[in-house]
């Protein structure tokens, strides 16, 4: 059984699957394309399992908090575990329609409003950051803040009333310098992704195998 745990077989599997999917993108051969699609279907199924993995991990972590009576935490862990259990059980009872009253109530009357509430606190964080942290201490900070102000005035309808040029200036900023910077970031990330993929396929990257 030790060969299953060794990194050799895993590296070979990664190499074969990675090479097939990569070649299928460039070479139009039916067998290659269908095999690549099959591998990608398997990947979709595996990702579904990772959701379960996250759930199991959360349960383990919070169960330990309760078991060890972790200070200022174990009460919330109990609440988490109870709500999680109720939500899962009520969802499984009506698995295809998800219309169980308890499930619907938790989703629509608890989860929905809480999500909106947590997102709404962003406005307060931003005003706090704007007042306390956005200070013109150097040229770069000045450019950042002036750009932010122009974009805000260009975006808000009232900006057009102050000066009709704000929307146009905002559009120019977004279409030219900001687009250029965003594209360069994407290109860099894309090149890094290609290099990482090649390293993983050819076995140079071993961290995902649990090694150094």
């Amino acid at each position: 059984m030790s060969w299953i745990k060794s990194k050799g077989p895993t590296s070979i599997i990664v190499f074969i699957i990675g090479l097939v999917v990569l070649l299928a993108y460039f070479i139009d051969v039916p067998v290659l394309s269908s095999t690549s699609s099959l591998f990608q279907d398997w990947a979709i199924i595996l990702v579904g399992f990772t959701v379960m993995l996250g759930l199991v991990n959360s349960v383990l972590v919070h169960s330990k908090n309760v078991q060890r009576r972790k200070e200022d935490q174990w009460q919330y862990s109990i609440l988490f575990l109870v709500v999680l259990t109720i939500h899962i059980v009520s969802g499984l009872i009506d698995i295809f329609n998800l219309n169980h009253p308890v499930y619907v109530w938790l989703s629509e009357k608890v989860y929905g409003p809480l999500s909106g509430a947590s997102y709404s606190t962003l406005g307060f964080w931003i005003i706090s950051a704007g007042y306390r942290a956005l200070r013109i201490k150097n040229r770069e900070a000045a450019v950042l803040i002036i750009t932010a102000v122009i974009v805000m005035l260009g975006n808000a309808p009232v900006g057009s009333l102050i000066w009709t040029g704000f929307p146009g200036l905002k559009n120019w900023l977004l279409d030219v310098p900001i687009s250029a910077a965003t594209r360069s970031t994407f290109i860099g990330a894309g090149v890094a992704g290609i290099l990482l993929g090649i390293r993983v396929i050819f076995g140079y990257e071993k961290k995902f195998l649990g090694g150094a």
């Binding site: 979709i44 199924i45 990702v47 909106g116 309808p157 929307p167 977004l174 279409d175 965003t182």
Partner: protein
């Protein structure tokens, strides 16, 4: 603090004052709208034009990311769903065929809570006019596979119906049978739809939140996205364009008030720097 100048004291105000003012400025325009005029941008016009050029019976793939976590970030959602289910059929003499899927696990919650009702209330027939495939894990891989097999990526839909039993899915095989893709979400999905659908020539429009606007605008300026509603203001423009002012238009005045207040907060904070003199300030937050 007693020895500080007036300008320096401007930088030490209790932050709770700002929170209260922000709360009041957010609420007042909802009670008493200011009615500040809004011009309609070219991105929003293109978004509408792309959908308006479709014909009755055309197939659309829709990324259903309108969820409880995203309702506030996607204020144009109700207008879009109303357009697709009511206005488009009236103007074009027939309905589209819409296949919806969610790449996020919360997608089904938004579907069952709000989105499905738009279709039901407009009298759409499930399996004939629209199908919801549910949450499909795999993110980019799933979106790429969807392009090669719309009716094979999953065996059953969200309700457990086999693909073979759904009348409209029989004629939808891959991207060649799809006339447009609409992404309504607050995540990275437009990137993947751009790579695997737009690259195959399928028109693609996106409705997303403000923080992603700069990113998706680069796709729009390159012609990869054929339309973009990327901010709350753009959602208000879309509602006005359709002639159905709603939540987004109502929040546009709030946008003006809060943006001006944000600029004032930045000015006050920087005036205090002047008040404390030109010596280097150790960042106090």
């Amino acid at each position: 603090m007693e020895n500080d100048s007036f300008l320096a004291r401007l930088g030490k105000l209790d932050i709770r004052i700002f929170f209260w003012i922000l709360l009041i400025l957010t609420a007042i325009p909802y009670v008493r709208p200011l009615g500040i005029p809004i011009s309609i941008s070219v991105q929003v016009k293109d978004f509408h034009k792309t959908l308006d050029e479709l014909e009755a019976g055309d197939v659309i793939i829709m990324e259903q990311g309108y969820t409880p976590t995203n309702y506030a970030m996607l204020p144009g959602g109700p207008a879009l769903f109303k357009y697709l289910t009511v206005i488009f059929p009236e103007e074009h003499g027939g309905r589209l065929k819409i296949v919806l899927k969610s790449s996020g696990e919360v997608g089904p919650v938004g579907w069952s809570e709000k989105v499905e009702d738009y279709f039901k209330e407009a009298g759409w027939e499930y399996g004939v006019d629209y199908v919801y495939l549910g949450y499909i894990p795999g993110q980019e891989t799933a979106i790429a596979n969807l392009a090669d097999g719309v009716n094979t990526i999953v065996a059953v839909d969200y309700y457990g119906n086999s693909m073979a039993d759904l009348e409209m899915m029989k004629d939808i095989n891959d991207y060649r049978d799809v006339s447009a893709v609409i992404s309504v979400d607050a995540s990275d999905y437009p990137d993947w739809y751009a790579k695997h659908w737009s690259s195959k020539g399928v028109p693609f429009v996106d409705m997303g939140p403000g923080p992603y606007y700069a990113r998706w605008n680069t796709l729009y300026t390159q012609g990869i996205l054929q339309g973009l509603i990327g901010t709350g203001r753009a959602a208000a423009e879309y509602e006005l364009l359709l002639g159905i002012p709603g939540e987004a238009v109502a929040s546009a005045d709030t946008l003006s008030a809060t943006h001006l207040f944000m600029i004032l907060a930045i000015i006050l904070g920087n005036l205090s720097v002047i008040g404390r003199g030109s010596k280097k300030i150790g960042g106090e937050i």
